[in-house]
């Protein structure tokens, strides 16, 4: 790949929570790194590309803590290339891809394969969350050390929970050697068997099998206790219940090191949407009732929930066409997450843009142990330029993702990605070609 050119982003409002920066300034990217905020004219290189970010926000690129890219094995749902294109269109410069593939990524060769395919695509940086258990069987610990050597940055059996408490405890303990996190999707599988929808009034009336909130609450409680016992790095998410939030708030006050994330769909729509029996509302975690949404939104705003992850779980159209029992959980969310967060949390005044960027970039980078998520001088030139006031209507036909199923179809949102820059290269833009300045 050719050396990235110098790139000057002018007139934008730079928001970098990692340095507490929020002001209109120029940002100079050079040789794949952030070279300067507000460079002197004399420091500009002889030749550079120019982006006019007037009325736009310039922030560190978004980082997704949980993306399913489905390759290898489920290319009918998504590929690393199509998922990557969707990611950069959604403002993501790094994604943590989960091992929900066939075969699951439980060997160093699997990690290598994904990294190589991703490197050949012009999408975001793809980091691998490898299996916590061998073949994702939930029993035998995978070769975590070798996987870490091959470049895995964390371990998970997502979207399955690590149900075996002994395994989770061993994995947390073992991972302290590598200082890598375990990502657990908290749910007690015994309580959710064959469930389809939030176990509330709507599921009762519609005769749908329920996914009770206590299944998540119990798992969060167990996870937190094991994190405390082992001192290992644990991330729970996505979470979706009031009970999880209450528990996390209490344990964080006690100083236990555990982080949590939510998916954007749990910030907006309620289980009432299931009344259409449309499988695009069959999601992981399920759409909950209003009181849970309110609790989740408040917890994101007050920082109890650390991060927002896309929860991108693409599934082929023919699978989602099925009836609601048969259709798989999941939706395409990489391209809508930023807009949903902006619409639901920022434009409603529940949080400011700095907090939003913190949840979508700075904190996810810390959780994943990445050096991105900041515009500090010398850090990777991963940048997103956002037009915060662009009002648009979500239309899955325009998605770059292969999966066209979204719970937000037709939703009116405000806030949209204009440029996504990965390692100093523009990987996505909605605008015409850049102006060259010599």
């Amino acid at each position: 790949m050719s050396e990235p050119q110098a790139l000057l982003i002018e007139h934008g409002r730079i928001i970098d929570p990692s340095q507490g920066v929020d002001r209109v300034a120029r940002l100079l990217l050079f040789r794949g790194k952030v070279l300067a905020i507000d460079p002197l004219d004399g420091d500009l290189p002889d030749y550079y590309l120019h982006i006019d970010a007037r009325n736009c926000i310039v922030a560190p690129g978004l980082i997704d803590l949980g993306t399913e890219l489905r390759e290898p094995g489920h290319e009918e749902d998504e590929t690393i290339e199509s998922g990557g294109a969707a990611a950069v269109a959604g403002g993501y410069t790094s994604v943590l891809c989960s091992a929900n593939t066939d075969p699951p990524i439980d060997t160093p060769a699997g990690v290598e394969l994904v990294r190589r395919i991703a490197a050949a695509c012009s999408g975001p940086k793809v980091h691998v969350i490898a299996c916590a258990s061998s073949r994702r069987d939930g029993e035998q610990m995978a070769e975590l050390g070798l996987l870490a050597q091959a470049g895995a940055i964390g371990f998970s059996d997502s979207p399955r929970p690590i149900h075996n408490s002994a395994l989770l405890k061993r994995a947390l303990d073992y991972c302290r050697m590598f200082d890598l996190p375990i990502f657990d999707r908290p749910v007690d599988p015994d309580l959710v068997e064959h469930g389809v929808a939030h176990d509330g009034q709507v599921a009762l009336v519609l005769g749908l099998k329920g996914l009770p909130t206590e299944a998540e609450d119990l798992a969060v409680a167990r996870d937190v206790r094991l994190a405390e016992a082992t001192g290992g790095r644990l991330h729970v998410g996505p979470i979706s219940t009031m009970g999880s939030v209450d528990l996390l708030r209490r344990v964080k006050q006690r100083g236990i090191q555990v982080t949590a994330s939510v998916c954007p769909h749990n910030l907006w729509h309620s289980d009432e949407m299931l009344r259409s029996f449309d499988s695009r509302f069959k999601l992981h975690p399920p759409l909950r009732s209003v009181k849970h949404i309110d609790a989740i939104v408040a917890a994101v705003a007050d920082g109890t929930i650390d991060a927002i992850q896309s929860g991108h779980m693409p599934r082929a159209r023919e699978k989602k066409m099925n009836d609601i029992d048969q259709a798989p959980f999941g939706a395409s969310t990489l391209e809508t997450t930023l807009a949903v967060v902006a619409t639901r949390l920022v434009h409603t005044g529940l949080m400011d843009w700095s907090q939003a960027i913190m949840c979508l970039s700075t904190t996810p980078a810390k959780i994943a142990g990445l050096c991105e998520g900041t515009l500090a001088i010398g850090s990777p030139a991963d940048v997103v330029v956002i037009d915060p006031n662009d009002a648009w209507t979500i239309d899955s036909d325009t998605f770059y993702s292969q999966c066209r199923s979204t719970p937000h179809e037709g939703d009116h949102v405000t806030g949209r990605v204009v440029y996504t820059i990965v390692g100093g290269q523009v990987r996505f833009t909605r605008r015409p070609a850049l102006e060259h300045i010599v």
């Binding site: 005769g207 449309d278 609601i324």
Partner: protein, 383 residues
């Protein structure tokens, strides 16, 4: 396949079905029910006593040419019958009134009137059924329509086709109604968005079974002349019962007080948030009830048994002679069937003077005729 529906002649296929359907939802096809289809022998006087005044007019019209008596209700616009929850009280009354009329015109659902000849009904059943499927077929045939049968076994569904594609294929053969039953809630709603023809829900998982709700309401109305002010208890497996949900919405819309009664594991306390009375002791509510609708325990839908034993269930919730003596003297005993004698109902109650179980079956044809006629007429064809 079509002969399945011809109950009079195809005894062989019926007995075969009993074997095939064992352990599934529709297990028991008792000869009594076959008789019930053919023996609607109630007198005019009985009807007069149980009908509201305007309904008696429908009976009097029997002597006139039938077609002239049916005028299409202008306010009816629906082309699908998906659930009772979304119907208004007025719409439910139109369905019931039309059912009364059609029942009278067909002399208790026995005579054929050819008001829908040339139309075709497709039974698209992805779950086993005997009585509902045959009831729909008979309803169509009584009005002169043709029927085609489709079941999930031995069809392209077992070859991996999605049910929407299967339904579209059948529609392309030129049918006017698709009657569908499926183990998943909402499948008729999905079909109604995909198909041009009328869609009728014959049961979708634990969600609704609207024609069952209607026939239950019609049966109560025939006996009491009204639903308003009555106390109706639905007893048993509320959690898994589509019949319960259709009854609950319909009865409440027409002014009845609805009690859902059963073990706490099968009757959610959330029903009371929705305005239904929740009870766990049958003995406590018995003296207040005008109607008892005894639902079957749906063992096939339960992964783990929600009560300790059938013995304990029958003891607490089974309707027997001793409990009958504590009821109002004019109580109606109903059951959507198939009934499990000895579990939710003892033979002396099932076959006793208060039981209207077989009338329910006859009324099933009446409400299905009404639904078919109204839905296909909603685009102006019957006006």
């Amino acid at each position: 396949m079509e002969h399945h529906c011809d109950l009079g002649t195809q005894k062989r296929s019926i007995s075969a079905r009993i074997i095939v359907d064992r352990d599934l939802r529709e297990t028991d096809f008792s000869p009594n029910i076959r008789d019930a289809f053919c023996s609607q022998t109630r007198t005019r006087e009985t009807f007069r006593r149980s009908f509201s005044p305007e309904d008696v007019g429908a009976l009097d019209s029997q002597s006139h040419p039938a077609n002239d008596e049916l005028t299409f209700p202008e306010s009816w616009t629906r082309r699908h019958l998906l659930d009772i929850e979304s119907l208004s009280a007025a719409e439910i009354n139109i369905l019931l009134d039309t059912a009364v009329r059609l029942k009278a015109m067909t002399e208790g659902c026995r005579r054929k009137i050819s008001i829908l000849s040339g139309k075709t009904l497709a039974n698209l059943f992805f779950e086993n059924s005997t009585r509902t499927r045959n009831s729909f077929s008979l309803a169509a045939k009584r009005m002169g329509a043709d029927t085609v049968e489709f079941s999930s076994s031995g069809s392209s569904v077992s070859k991996g086709e999605t049910f929407v594609d299967t339904a579209k294929t059948i529609q392309a053969m030129g049918v006017d109604w698709v009657v569908t039953r499926h183990s998943t809630p909402g499948t008729p709603h999905l079909l109604s968005r995909e198909l041009e023809c009328c869609v009728l829900n014959a049961g979708d998982g634990a969600h609704e079974h609207p024609t069952q709700g209607l026939l239950d309401m019609l049966t109560i109305r025939e006996h009491r002349g009204r639903l308003d002010g009555l106390t109706v208890a639905l007893v048993g497996d509320i959690a898994h019962s589509r019949t319960a949900r259709s009854n609950m919405w319909g009865l409440r819309k027409l002014g009845a007080h609805v009690i859902v009664c059963g073990p706490a594991t099968l009757v959610s306390p959330r029903w009371s948030e929705l305005g239904f009375e929740v009870a766990h002791s049958l003995d406590e509510i018995l003296p207040r009830c005008d109607v008892l609708n005894l639902l079957r325990i749906q063992f096939e839908r339960q992964k783990a048994r929600p009560f300790p034993s059938v013995h304990e269930y029958a003891n607490r919730y089974g309707m027997n002679g001793k409990r009958m003596r504590r009821c109002k003297s004019d109580i109606l005993i109903m059951a959507p069937g198939p009934i499990n004698r000895g579990v939710e109902i003892t033979p002396e109650v099932a076959d006793g003077p208060h039981s209207v179980i077989l009338e329910q079956v006859t009324n099933g044809i009446a409400v299905r005729m009404a639904a078919l006629w109204l839905l296909v007429g909603a685009n102006g064809e019957n006006r």
